[in-house]
Subunit: 335 residues, 2 copies
Amino acid sequence: MTSAAEIFAAHVSRPLSAPVEANVFAPSNIALSKYWGKRDKALNLPLNSSLSISLGQWGTETRIAPADVDSLVFNAELMAKDAPAAAKVWTFVDLFCGDNRPALAIETTNSIPTAAGLASSASGFAALTAALDAAFQTDLPKATLSMLARFGSGSATRSFWHGFVRWDAGQADDGTDSYAYPIDAALPDFRIAIVAVDTGPKAQSSTDGMTHTVATSPLYAPWPARAEADCAAIEAAVWAGDFATLGQLAEDNALAMHATMMAARPAVTYLKPQSWAVLDTLWAARRDGLQAFATMDAGANVKLIFEDPSTADVQSLFPDAQIINPFEAPPAGSV
Amino acid sequence: MTSAAEIFAAHVSRPLSAPVEANVFAPSNIALSKYWGKRDKALNLPLNSSLSISLGQWGTETRIAPADVDSLVFNAELMAKDAPAAAKVWTFVDLFCGDNRPALAIETTNSIPTAAGLASSASGFAALTAALDAAFQTDLPKATLSMLARFGSGSATRSFWHGFVRWDAGQADDGTDSYAYPIDAALPDFRIAIVAVDTGPKAQSSTDGMTHTVATSPLYAPWPARAEADCAAIEAAVWAGDFATLGQLAEDNALAMHATMMAARPAVTYLKPQSWAVLDTLWAARRDGLQAFATMDAGANVKLIFEDPSTADVQSLFPDAQIINPFEAPPAGSV
């Protein structure tokens, strides 16, 4: 059994050099082919590959600087070291640096509108990993950064590039082949709309929902193989520039993931009545010819994908939706 | 390959005697452990066993009398012989009677409130089968009537008894062992509430939704085995008088069935946003201690099951719900 500490020790050359100030941005991402279920919890290894699209300028900027004492400022707020979110960050920093690390001042700012209700762990752990690499001048390949960020958050694995990114599940027991890489096919018209469904804090973390689903859902068994097949088919559609196929597969894949949860005992229902109302509106518009598709993660929001010529129609259906162009110029200092 | 006609010929002694007037009531039923997927379409044979509760005085009354010409009156309205619903009835009558049948006047009345939005095919084909048996004095055992009614509608198989009824999937290729029988355990406090969700006519028949799900849902494969296990566990809970276990299993089973559909490609979504809102209300009340559970079929309505002491709480949550006592005295002439 390889431990997380052993993986970091094998990839981050130590002793580390003295830290310098570093400032990095990483984009958030949305999976078009979902990751749902772990083959190894300690190493955070997925049962299936996944494929995402980045969220342009929506992401996390993280600044790391040498300091006399540790401090973590999140969205301009100083965080107690033992607050749950902060503890996850410091645990990760300790993993990266090993013993005897110097004190660090970490400042991290999330550019994702709070109203969008999107988790920031994907861009957050990608930016943190890249900022640590820059601060300690370890100069690791992106594939290695992606592999290491996985220990902070699975979806962070995919947040080191803009555009389409594929995270291979990998086969190795130690997970060293489980990392992401870019699918270098631009679909410049590709757009995302975030339709926020405000239902307060979610009742169950995605990790808890995933663990419970794998453990109790009678319909989970066929998921990993189907998700792997969907991921390959969606990748093929990306390369082919075939948006209609990509969109329908992404929606089918998301619904299948939520179906595995709905069959869990008891059911896991991140989707709320208002989420279903958004889907109903979308499906009615699609019957009328609109080529837009939905994807949903472990929360109540619905994300739509479509091509730029449909933007006005999407905005007229969902006036409060926030539209994202994943291929816009990335912010300065981006991964 | 055995045909439907051969099955009827083997069980209904011919030539038939001259018909006499007959009047029969059969209750509708709701599956607590669902039937979803056919192993033989021509013989309407299920892939898994199911278990239902009858709906007391909600059902179908059918009167058959000798006549000079065929006529079918449904809910006081004369039906053209080639109207889709009428054609299904006459096809079934022809199967039962074989060649050279006498003309019949059939009058059938559905006592289920239209607002309840429940299909009447279960009680309808059970009442028709029992009325044909009485009119022609064929005096068939109920198990045989149940087996034959299956050719009209799968769920009709379970509508020949009041209370809990189990339909065994059976193993025989000709389906002669696929019929229902009563589970003779009364839970006199058992109650059902129909929470109607009005969404207009459903877009897809249950047979179409079933066929599409079996053909395209990547999550269907584990369903038949799980449904069989659920059916056995629910039967055990009925015998044990363990309502809490029965209720939770019934809800889990219904959600798993809908999950198989949600994963179909494209998705089959009989549940509507308002159905999910009913479930959300129910789940919140259950967290507060209410012991009530939901089950949903191929439509948007939600059916709640609970015990009589919870009736006032259920009525206060869902003032428009219609409450049914399945163990009330059946109407005169009931199967």
